[in-house]
Symmetry: C2
Subunit: 375 residues, 2 copies
């Protein structure tokens, strides 16, 4: 719909079987089939959320694809009528599970829940996501730790490429047999090596997918390196397909990724930080447990229209946090997600208005001068 | 408004500074200034809740009366626009705090939070509740454990009577100086001794209070004894004032207390049981973690109109429970409270229609035949 003349930023529309999504978009994470503490009604009425992420690894282990299938698919199971993107399970296998063994075929691992052995293959993870009925599916990839040697990254990359091709072969066959299937995205890997990232992007491009993800970043490498890798990768991906940067970011980083041509992002940051007492506001970060908020009658953010900011004081939220009350988690998560979606809205508006560079500069200036003191 | 010809049941209206409450009424418990997992909006829009209970002991310790006063009182602090009843703090001092020492003056205790020493007197607990702005305040009483000897109960009773008189003396003075004060209720004690209960009721009656509570029951004594004590006490209380039975009960017990002339009840049961996986339905109790619900597509209760029952399956709720998801607590609590309020609504309707004895008998019959198997 619109492209920034000076940066790589784009604004568009993503059409899914469960509705239209305005891009660039940030996806809240509903790991176990629930965005922690928020009901579908909160997500729709309070946030007008269009797209969320659910984790294949977790849902595969519990409650399992059979249960979800029997209950009519993931949307019906969750009571979520809009779009769902499921990741491939690759990241969690490598970060959460116990002993695991990678082969050409896939990855054998032990459940972190009960130690049972399972095998994920590119084909099986496509099947699981088709059973879920995800609007966007992700191809199984291997997520390397950081740092990794160029050789290890290259070897892993070749495996990921093989898995991507296998996933697409299988997917293309399956969609002949099923109705209403979502779109499969492959994931660009290559660690922090520009040459590997470029090769991977070029090879995955040949799959002619409906969208492409950039994975294996935000795993401990310096932020500048993450952006460098996006810069190496994004221009090689098809211009008319969405680019999904996985696992990012902080509010001030969102426009940076958009500036590099990213259309989709996901992160547990807003929800997890909320529960841990760190709230994002238009004036910077606020740590709710601090004594200064004990009798502060102001809302978290004067400019925020969310239910939490319209009805409750910092003092009350701090009280709920200190008291370990469940309501704190719901209100704080609602607020942080509202903040993130507001940032994305502002980014998108500025792109459509041809003013994104100014918005980006304003964000950078604000991040520089953000003082933790007077909030 | 209506009285049952055969039993002691009554239906009426309780007028408070924050709205009218239909009696008999069940009050959900918002211990620390929040009904766990539910926002004020949920309570109003989903349950049309008119009155809830908050604990003076907890709120006095954290965040404290000064903070609440500075934030405009408890209603404003909580964002709860309807009625609040606060208990005196007596029960928690005796059940939660560490070392404590009872004197004629009051009770010295150590906070369960940090061990600090505090003194509760009949006067100070009235003042704290006036600062909170409660619609109904409770007078400080001494809660004996069960069992207690007649002598210990008598000695405790005399102290409680002295405290009640001191509380009312102080309260009557204070309400000359303040506007919009709530009503103070004294609490009938006397352990499981009918003679003590009757004497206490008669003496408290002389305080000419706006309502009376029956306390010190549901502390481990057999249910039959609790009802016996209510039967001994209620008829001695003024007919035109509400009777508040503290700390009860299970769904099938609610009509029993109403039959003995009780107009108000409170209990953590519906909310706590919800969080622990025990759901109350029109067909009996349901333990959500049971394997039989793993792929059960039905709502918790087919006849329940709550948000949880209208949108989610038992399978999903079970999944959320197993997964430790926050949303489970909110949905389950919402459902159980809806169930309790529905039972109260049915009780009240039957009294107004002159059909309460039939309702009571139907409840008794259903409780007898309740089979845990097919649900």
């Amino acid at each position: 719909m619109a492209e920034c003349a000076q940066t790589g930023a784009r604004a568009g529309l993503l059409h899914t079987p469960h509705g239209v999504v305005e891009t660039p978009v940030f996806m809240p994470v509903g790991t176990q089939g629930s965005v922690k503490g928020l009901s579908p009604r909160d997500l729709i009425e309070q946030l007008d959320l269009r797209l969320l992420l659910a984790n294949t690894y977790h849902l595969y282990l519990r409650p399992g694809p059979e249960v979800i299938e029997r209950l009519g698919g993931l949307h019906q199971f969750m009571g979520w009528p809009r779009a769902i993107l499921t990741d491939s399970g690759g990241y969690q296998v490598f970060s959460l599970s116990g002993l695991r063994k990678v082969t050409q075929e896939g990855v054998l691992f032990r459940s972190h829940l009960n130690g049972d052995a399972h095998l994920f293959t590119p084909e099986s993870t496509v099947d699981v996501q088709l059973v879920f009925g995800s609007d966007i599916l992700m191809a199984l990839d291997e997520c390397l730790e950081y740092p990794a040697s160029h050789e290890a990254a290259r070897e892993s990359l070749d495996r990921t490429l093989g898995w991507a091709r296998a996933a697409f072969r299988h997917y293309r066959q399956r969609i002949q047999e099923r109705e209403n299937c979502g779109a499969l995205f492959p994931i660009v890997q290559g660690s922090v090596y520009g040459d590997l990232r470029r090769r991977c992007a070029a090879e995955l491009r040949e799959l002619d997918a409906d969208g492409y993800a950039i994975g294996g970043l935000s795993v401990g490498e310096p932020r500048a390196l993450s952006l460098e890798m996006v810069e190496a990768t994004a221009p090689l991906l098809p211009r008319d397909r969405p680019r999904y940067m996985m696992g990012v970011g902080l509010p001030e980083e969102l426009p940076e990724y958009v500036a590099h041509g990213v259309d989709m992002m996901d992160c547990v940051l807003p929800s997890r930080n909320a529960r841990n007492g760190c709230l994002f506001t238009s004036q910077g970060r606020l740590i709710i447990k601090q004594a200064r908020y004990k009798d502060d009658p102001r809302p978290i953010d004067e400019s925020c229209p969310c239910y939490a900011c319209r009805n409750f004081s910092r003092a009350y939220l701090r009280h709920l946090f200190q008291a370990g009350e469940i309501l704190y988690a719901s209100l704080a998560t609602l607020h942080n997600l509202r903040r993130y979606l507001e940032v994305m809205r502002q980014i998108r508006q500025s792109i459509l208005a041809g003013e994104f560079p100014a918005y980006l500069n304003a964000t950078r200036a604000r991040a520089l001068e953000e003082l933790p003191a007077e909030l």
